[in-house]
Every structure is written in structure tokens, then in C-alpha cells.
Symmetry: C2
Subunit: 646 residues, 2 copies
């Protein structure tokens, strides 16, 4: 039952002690060989999530239960704890990965299990919510793995508390509004539009709030609809959207390749106003990036209104505010903004919140989850957050975009490496789960590791390398990488076995992270936001990717001029580059040199707050293979258990 405000405030005053949590961890008894993720997840009975919330000092008014294993945590927690100092802020990133991933999520979870259940520290993991598309497509779930997981894994991978669905709904309301508006403008006179947009209600016409703000942007300082001149009416009613300039796409959280390019508006009711359009996967929506980068409800409301969806035929940016839809977006997103509390296999708290694309967006979980977690762990606690893709992409964006907007100071970078990936960089074959690995060429393979350690150090933050052990690795290989990592400038490097052993397998890593968090950190951004767009792109390309220079293709050049003119030139840069190489060519492993990074185009996520240069073509809608994952997924109708998720 939910307690009343009075009761819980009382309880809080009586029992709340900033400091160590009074938390019960679950004892793991790992089995060899490690069963499937689903079986491991099911072998554990999670604590009722309300109990976990109490253990970490949340009061009942701050906790909205969503069933027994998930809860949304109110942003009021931040206000209550605002005087509390933040804990240590740890980001987990990786070397340039193989297509299978090197276990960053698993390491983030394993590290938190070790810090909490084994070293007795307050520790909170913050991870991204996975898209449902790949879960039923080709990739399967994404809740960590083995004995380092978020549980129950089926709750983590399906629907969660509906945040991604809310984004789908909000995103597509904007899309529907754009095309409907173009249609209505094309088929009505100024006067007809005006009398509908500002209708007579009980004999009076009034502007709504969102319309008054549009008038102000148009410098029409009038409040009485009767006083507008015909010219002002025309300016007000006509967004005059250039259909070719629309950058806002529809989205679905489904891998539906047949929606990659479509023609819309072909019903006779749309009177021939057809156009080419596309659907992206929902996590590619700018609204997801807004959710991930926002600092408060007020800030989210503002960002959702600043999103630019197209230009007018005269080149004026058209926003969701101009469409009158921004308030509705905030309403649709009002619950999604609250981070979702779940737990690890060992009973540590985990926030699962936001999951923006790591190429066309910044690939990091939410600022708000990190901020709340940093308060909840307290001064001596640890928040472990994960950045998508390798350090050249996710970590760079974590520092230059996420930390810039959050104002948070990172303490330690954990860089995950696997022998498998190092072998690939050392000239091994393209990796698949089944393929046998070639002999190890350590020096060559470790070049990528070395460069990514350097990349982290550019930002002035201590680096700990986590060598994520696979059962096929030899001890000699693992120790060699540890040694080379230290030589390359890592403050420390340790082997970990959390996949097979749970938190126990990451105790050495946790101790290294504890030590590193005491080391001096001189955090700095890579570039100044006020630099010209081209300069900012060049700095990332040269310093982080190791490019000789960049090359702007004509479309990119035009867009940079346009965005600069529109006033968006001082936004941070979010590179949309392959994660499979430091360069733009996924085949180039190790540390490519002597290349010129081609910038094909540049796009803007003005509400989220970044420009994203496109290096090559980014797929924003995955497809279903011949035999999608769903062939194995079913529900046991008697027990209600989910089978076949992995």
C-alpha cells in the first residue's frame, strides 16, 4: 500500500541517515557452464522493488510502483536531496568493438554488483532502455548477461514502463501535425485558416497560449484576434513548410525494413498531396535524445518546443511550437521523464532510463537518472553509467554533450576490452560468435586499446581498463593486455570474470575504480562550443579518431551555412560515424592513420541540443532476418513465463 505524505515524511525524519544503505544483497551461487541469460534471470527472485527503494533511502511519495519489479522515481527526489553532495561518477566505455559487443553493459552491472554486494559501498548502475525492435529481430535482449544482469530480464526488455511507447506517440503526433498542416494550408484561404485556428467560442475569438508565443516570435505584439491585419493573419496562419526540408520522420519500435522509404498521402482524401517519407526506429527520435539530456520538467518542456522539424520556403526554421503541438508532447512525456528503478541479480539498484541511438544521437542513458543516483548514493557512493559504442563515440559524446548539459564532473573512465576484439584489431578474422580466433598479435591488437586510453586521457579523467574475460581466453593473454594497458597510460588494468562469477568476478575492478576515484581528475571538454562548426568537427576527427583532416561534401557545407545562419552554430557536435572503426571505414581495424574523414551531410537536433554530421550512411531502421528471434519466443500460458528471450 502507498503511505500518505504525512506518514512517509515522518518515517523519513525518523529513519533517514545519509551514509551507508541498510541494504540486503542476494547471494549468488553461479553454476558452470553459465546457463542462458533467461535461465540465470529466472533463477533469482527479485526483491519487491518498493523494498529496494526503501533500502536506498527513497521515501514512498517518491516511488511509483509499476508492478512488483519496476518503479518510477519522482524528480522531487532531487529537490529533497539537493544539499547532499554527489557521489563518484564512473563512466563505462570500451575499445572499438566487434559487431557482437564487448560487454560494456555486463561490466557496468558487474562493477556495481562488486562495489555494493562485495565491497559494501553504495553503488547505483544507470543503463539505457533497449529498443524492442532488435529484441524480436536479430540481437535479442540487452540486460547485461550471465551473472551480471538487470532482472527480471523480460521486464527490462519488453515495454518496461512504457517510456519508448510514449516517445513513439509523441514523435508521431508531430509527424501527423506536419502533414496535416501542409494539407490544410494548401487547401484553405488565409481567412478560412484563421477562422479555424482562432475559432469563435461563445461569440469570442481568443488566441491560445501557444499561438500567442508564435505571434511574439513573428513580432506581432497583439492579443486581440480582431486587430490583426491581413498581412499579419497570413504570416500567422501560414507556416509555409517546404516539404523537401522536412527532417522529422515517423517512428516505430519495430524492425520494419519496408518502411525505410515510403510514399504517403495516396488516399483520395489527401487530394494528391503525396510525398516521400520514412519511418525510423523509435530510439532514433529526437524526443529520445531530449529525454536523455533534459535536467527537469521545465527544461524538457522547453526542449520539446524548440525541436526544428523543417524550414519554411523562405528558410525560417519551423518548430513544434509553431505547430502548436509542444504542450501536448510534454503531456505525453510527463511520466517518461521519471527514471525507472530496477535491480541487479545481486539486489543493487539500477536506473533504466532513455536509450538514444549512439550514432545519430549521443548514445547515453539519461542525465536525470545519473543526477538522482548521484544524490542517492551520497558522497562516498558510486554511480556507474554506460556510454554506447567505443570510447571514440559514446565516451566523447558523454563528455562533450551529456556532461556539458548536466554540469556533472566524471571521476573515472572504465574502458572495457576483450581479447576477442583485440585479436580482431590485430588482424584476426571478422568476428562471429562461432568463428575460431586466430593467434593473438598483442602489440598490433593493442594499438586500438592504447589509442582509446589516450582518448579518455585527453579529457583529463583517470582510466581503468577492464579486461572482460571469455572462457576461450588464456591467462597469459589476459595478463599481457593488463600490462600493455598500464604501459599505455591507464591508471590501472584488471581482469574481470563477472559474466561467469557475478560481482565477485569484478571485485578487483571495483577496488581499482575505488582507488582511481581518489586520484586527481582534471576534467575538460574537447572543444569550445563557440568555435565554428567546421572547427569543432575537425577537432573531434583529428584528436579522437586520428584523422589527417575532414572533407565537407557539398550538402554538409550548405547545411553548416544554413544552421549557422539560423543560430544553431554554437551547439555541440554529435558525430554519426560507424562504431566498428576509429575511421569512417568499418573494415579498418586497429588505429587507422592518414585518412580524411568525409562529412556527407549535417543535421540538427535543436531540441536535444546538438548538430550531427553524417559520416557515411546511417541506417535508422533495422530489418528482420529470414529467421527473426521471435521464432523461439513464446509464453507458457499456464505459468505465464516467457521463454526464448535471450
Amino acid at each position: 500500500p502507498i503511505q500518505s505524505t504525512v506518514e512517509s515524511a515522518q518515517r523519513f525524519l525518523e529513519n533517514y541517515q545519509p551514509g551507508k544503505w541498510n541494504i540486503q544483497y542476494r547471494l549468488l551461487t553461479p553454476v558452470t557452464p553459465v546457463p542462458s541469460d533467461m535461465e540465470v534471470s529466472r533463477s533469482c527472485t527479485p526483491k519487491p522493488i518498493g523494498e529496494l527503494a526503501r533500502e536506498i533511502g527513497l521515501i514512498s511519495d517518491e516511488v511509483e510502483l509499476y508492478g512488483q519489479c519496476k518503479a518510477k522515481i519522482s524528480l522531487s527526489t532531487l529537490k529533497r536531496l539537493k544539499e547532499q553532495p554527489d557521489g563518484k561518477y564512473i563512466v563505462v566505455t570500451g575499445i572499438t568493438p566487434t559487431p557482437l559487443g564487448e560487454g560494456k553493459s555486463t561490466t557496468a552491472i558487474g562493477l556495481v554488483q562488486a562495489l555494493g554486494a562485495h565491497l559494501g559501498q553504495n553503488a547505483f548502475a544507470c543503463v539505457r532502455q533497449p529498443s524492442q525492435g532488435p529484441t524480436f529481430g536479430i540481437k535479442g535482449g540487452a540486460a547485461g548477461g550471465g551473472y551480471s544482469q538487470v532482472v527480471p530480464m523480460e521486464e527490462f526488455n519488453l515495454h518496461l514502463t512504457g517510456d519508448i511507447h510514449a516517445i513513439t506517440a509523441a514523435n508521431n503526433l508531430v509527424a501527423a501535425a506536419i502533414d496535416a498542416r501542409i494539407f490544410h494550408e494548401a487547401t484553405q484561404s488565409d481567412q478560412a485558416l484563421y477562422s479555424r485556428l482562432v475559432p469563435l467560442v461563445d461569440g469570442v475569438r481568443n488566441f491560445s497560449d501557444v499561438q500567442i508565443r508564435r505571434l511574439q516570435r513573428l513580432h506581432i505584439m497583439k492579443m486581440d484576434p480582431a486587430t490583426l491585419t491581413n498581412d499579419e493573419i497570413s504570416k500567422f496562419v501560414r507556416l509555409d513548410i517546404d516539404p523537401d526540408s522536412i527532417t522529422w520522420q515517423r517512428v516505430l519500435d519495430t524492425n520494419d525494413r519496408f518502411l525505410r522509404t515510403i510514399t504517403i498521402g495516396q488516399s483520395p482524401s489527401e487530394k494528391g498531396y503525396t510525398r516521400t517519407a520514412q519511418f525510423d526506429i523509435t530510439v532514433a527520435s529526437e524526443i529520445m535524445a531530449v529525454l536523455a539530456l533534459t535536467n527537469s520538467l521545465e527544461d524538457m518542456r522547453e526542449r520539446l518546443g524548440k525541436m526544428v522539424v523543417a524550414s519554411s520556403k523562405k528558410g525560417v526554421p519551423i518548430t513544434t511550437e509553431d505547430l502548436g503541438v509542444s504542450g501536448a508532447l510534454a503531456v505525453l512525456m510527463k511520466d517518461a521523464i521519471k527514471p525507472n528503478l530496477m535491480q541487479t541479480l545481486e539486489g543493487n539498484p539500477v536506473f533504466v532510463h532513455a536509450g538514444p541511438f549512439a550514432n545519430i544521437a549521443h548514445g547515453n542513458s539519461s542525465v536525470l537518472a545519473d543526477k538522482i543516483a548521484l544524490k542517492v548514493v551520497g558522497k562516498d557512493g558510486f554511480v556507474v553509467t554506460e556510454a554506447g559504442f567505443g570510447a571514440d563515440i559514446g565516451m566523447e559524446k558523454f563528455f562533450d554533450i551529456k556532461c556539458r548539459y548536466s554540469g556533472l564532473q566524471p571521476h573515472v573512465v572504465v574502458l572495457v576490452a576483450t581479447i576477442r576484439a583485440l585479436k580482431m584489431h590485430g588482424g584476426g578474422p571478422t568476428v562471429s560468435a562461432d568463428s575460431r580466433l586466430r593467434e593473438f598479435e598483442p602489440l598490433m591488437g593493442c594499438s586500438n586499446l592504447r589509442k582509446q586510453i589516450e582518448n579518455a586521457r585527453i579529457f583529463g579523467v583517470p582510466v581503468v581498463v577492464a579486461v572482460n574475460a571469455f572462457k576461450s581466453d588464456t591467462e597469459a593473454e589476459l595478463q599481457l593486455v593488463v600490462r600493455l594497458a598500464k604501459e599505455a597510460g591507464a591508471l590501472d588494468a584488471v581482469k574481470c570474470t563477472h559474466w561467469a562469477d557475478g560481482g565477485k568476478g569484478a571485485v578487483a575492478l571495483a577496488e581499482a575504480v575505488q582507488r582511481a576515484s581518489q586520484a586527481p581528475s582534471h576534467f575538460q571538454f574537447l572543444y569550445d562550443m563557440e568555435l565554428p562548426v567546421v572547427e569543432k568537427i575537425r577537432i573531434i576527427a583529428q584528436k579522437i579518431y586520428g584523422a589527417n583532416d575532414i572533407e565537407l561534401l557539398p550538402e554538409a557545407e550548405l547545411k553548416i551555412i544554413q544552421y549557422t545562419k539560423q543560430g544553431f552554430g554554437n551547439l555541440p557536435i554529435c558525430m554519426a560515424k560507424t562504431h566498428l572503426s576509429l575511421s569512417h571505414n568499418p573494415e579498418q581495424k586497429g588505429v587507422p592513420t592518414g585518412f580524411i574523414l568525409p562529412i556527407r551531410d549535417v543535421r540538427a537536433s535543436v531540441g536535444a541540443g546538438f548538430l550531427y554530421p553524417l559520416v557515411g550512411t546511417m541506417s535508422t531502421m533495422p530489418g528482420l532476418p529470414t529467421r527473426p528471434c521471435f521464432y523461439d519466443i513464446d509464453l507458457d500460458p499456464v505459468t505465464g513465463e516467457v521463454n526464448g528471450l535471450f
Copy 2:
């Protein structure tokens, strides 16, 4: 906090008394003039939903909280209470409505408020979840109105617990699977398809469960993939879907008119396999109808597998089972199947569950919500459920489809009438909220009421007419309708003012319903399921609509032959007809006579379990007007309050 199974079972044994609930109602103090629905809703502080659940005898293991105002109720409740007799089952329907609706939902809520808070009976309302599309489009919300509402109205109207979003996800996974499958079959040999569909894993090929079931349907009784002949392989791997036969559409819960007709597959990656397709609003998905008609998790799993999405080029129906996606659908719908508990303004329990279209589907809330509610109210209690549109549509489908699948016996029909609608039937002007009404022509206007009373009596169930009073109605008008309704065969007829007065305004109605529920009911279906399809359609058209006969257009004739051949001829009929007239012509008010009902086409929802003849063209995707509702909707970022919903 959530209690353990043991504790709650103990508490149940100690405290549970079948009989009257120990429930606290909220005292209403209605204000005149009645404020906006949003203001009324906000004037009330709802009980914590867990408290309401306890008051009505649910045990904590059966209640999954979704925030403070919503909970999902486990289907295990049905098992626990299986020996408990059902309460009285009341269906609320209406005369042929005006386009604005005549207050069926409001009456259902008001009646439950009266039965519970004013007459001390156990009473439960069961209503449909509204689509979010119209909420932001033209219609606004749908939680009842005035002082008869489900609260909080913004929670009711937005996302709820995500059931509609789950349907969107499930529906679109099927759609993506269809087109991906056609594509993969078109671009691969039998052997390539087979080796991908039945892949080598650790050196072995195995069929998955869903593949074994497909083999059985193909009468290939083999379990070892190595033993299939080339011919069997070809049969197994090729669904050979005829693209022109696809009846499965994509859906979104957004009013997006530009998706009514689209061309998909135009990206080069789809190699020219384009086709014309469409998006419907999510509530039009067959999965919504399945959710509404299912009796258990097992039954839902089965129905989700039986859905026919297309035919093969040889005319064989292709199901979701053939696509291998049926298990994933059940997994996506595993939480949606649990009814959502909310409350009325006066604190009565309400289930909000499922909201299928009332034309191409059956327009009734879920069987499971009704079944659980009937157990929870107990023998002497009342469950009030609402049927969409007028009695000729929603009520007929309630009896012939919903009650047929649920096995439940209805006790009373409440038929809602308004003076406004009767005036329209009496030759008044087309109704809009603002227009002034013409003088009343009672005898002519009441013909529609009389016919709809007869329609209810055909099923052998007592009828109570609720004359839903508007402030513009005169007492003489209201009393005249009451008298005419009784003369027309209603067991009783009463004026009600629950919109303005809350439950107090429906006490007379509640008493009439109590009396009627004691009257003998001789419930019978309108037609025998085993009759030929044409006969069943003719019976509905003649007996309920008053048609002289039906006329099958060629497409309908072909489909009836096809569906009968495919074995679907014995399904009940779900007429897709306008709700604005008893005939197929929305202009024909009152009781049209002498018409022939044209059947343009027939479609099948095999999983949901009905055939739906199309009378005219049904729009399955609404659009956005020039000034959609969202212009007024915004979030107060400081208080978090939603403004502008109505």
C-alpha cells in the same frame, strides 16, 4: 509494500467475507454551472488505488500498482473466486446517437456511483480504454463527464498502463514479419531459406516449436530436419503469400491521415518489392478485438495464433502461426490482458480494459474485466458495462458476439436517450454543440427509441430507459419521453441528472435497474452460428435494422464463398455499419423502412472470432483538423498538472 504470498493468503483467510464491501465513498459537492471535466476531475483526490483494491476484497498478490491511481488486476482473481456466484450483469446502450454521443459512458459511471455510493450496493463499472488519437485530434477525452467520471481523467486518457501501446507493438511486428517474409522468399532459394529457418546450432539443426506446429498443419509428420524431402522443404519454407490478399494493416494510435494509403518498400534495400499499404488507428487492430474477447491467457495465446493475415497464392489462409510470430505476440500482450482498475469520482471501482472499434470490431470492453468484476461484486452486486454506438450495433454485438464467447448472461439493458437525439430523429437539424434545437416532435422522434427498445427485447432481456437530461431540456419533454418509453415496452424509464449531480442524479435509474434485475430474463441469441453467412447477415439486417433485405455486392459474394470454404463460415457476424442511422445511410433518421442493405465486402477477424461485412466505407484512420485539440493542451512544468484536456 507488496506482501508475500503467505501473508496475503493468511489475511485473505482471516478477513475475507463475501458480501457487502467495506468501502469508503467520496462525498461530492457539485458546483453549478458544472465546470470543465478536467476541473471536476482535479477537484477530487482519488483514493490510493491499492486501498480501493483492498476495500473490494482483492488480495495484494492480485494487485499490481501502476503509480498511485491505476492498478492491473491479476487473472488469478478469477481462479480464487471461481466458486462465487456472479453478480447482476447490466449493459448500457443507447438510441441511434447524434454525432456528439448521448452520454452512454457518463450514464454507466453515474449509474455505478448511484448503486454504490447512494444505494450501498457492490457495483463495478467496466468501460473501454479510449484511443489517444482522438484525444489530441477532434474528440477530446472519454472518461464520462461532469460529475460522473473516471478519475484522474488525464490518466484515463493518456497511455493508461500501456495496453494500446502493447497492441501497436504486437500488431506491427506481424506487419513487419509479413513483408520481410515475402521479401526473403522472393530473394532466396528453398535451400537457402531452409538453412536459415532451421539453422545449424552447435552442429545440429532443430525445428522450433512453432515450426513443428506448422509442419503438422502441412501434414509433414517429421521431427528431424534432415529427413524432409525437397518438396516438403519447399512447402515448409514458402508461405507463398499473395501480396494482394494481405488484410493485415500497420497501426498507430495517432490521427495520421497521410498514412491512409501509402506505398512501402521503396528503399533500394528492398529491391523493388513495393506495395500499397495503409495504417489504421491502433484500436482497429484485430489484436484489440482479441484482447476484448479472450477468456484466459491460454485462450489469448490461441487466438493470437489463429489470426489470418493473408492467403497464399493457392488460397490457403496464412496465420500468425505460419509466420512464427504468434508466441512473441502473446509475450507482448502478457500484461495487457490484465484489467486496469481505476475509480469513479465517488470512489467506486472501474475496470478500464480494451477498446475495440465499434464498427469493424464489436465495440465492447473486455470479457475478462466483466468476468472478474462479476465475481468481485458477488451475488447481489452489479456490474455495469458499456456497449459502443447505438443498440442496433453495440448491443447486438454485445449479445451475439461478446456474450456468446463469454458465456455470461445479461440481466438488464439500460437504453440511454437524450431529448437532443430524439429531436434530431423527429426531423430536427443536424446536431452540433452550439446549434439551437427545433421544437420537439415527440411521436416522430420517439420512433427510434421505440425500435431500439424492441431490439433489446428481441434478446429477451428487460429494458430500462435512461433519459439523460441536458440543461436545455424542459421537464415536460423529459416526462413525455419517460411515458412513451414505457408504452413502447420498456420495463421502466427514468430521467437522470448524473452529469450535473453525480450518482445522486441517477438514484432513480439505479432503483429501476435493481427492480429490473429481479425481473425474469429469457436471454437468447439472435441467430444460430451454424446458419450460412448470408442468412446471419440477413437476420441482423431485417430484425434489428428493419431492412427489407440485403444485397451482396460481388466482392462480398466472393469473400463469403472464400471464407466458407476456408472453414470460417460458422463465426458470428460483426456488422460494420454507420452508427448514425438504423440503415446504411447516416442521413436517414428515425426508423427508416423499405431499404435494402448493401454489403460491399466481407472481412474476417479469425483470431478475434467474427466475420465483418462492410456496409459502405469505414474510415479506420481519423485525421487532424486545422486546429486539433492539442493547441490547448499543455503541462504546467512547476506543478506537473495537465491543462486543456477535455
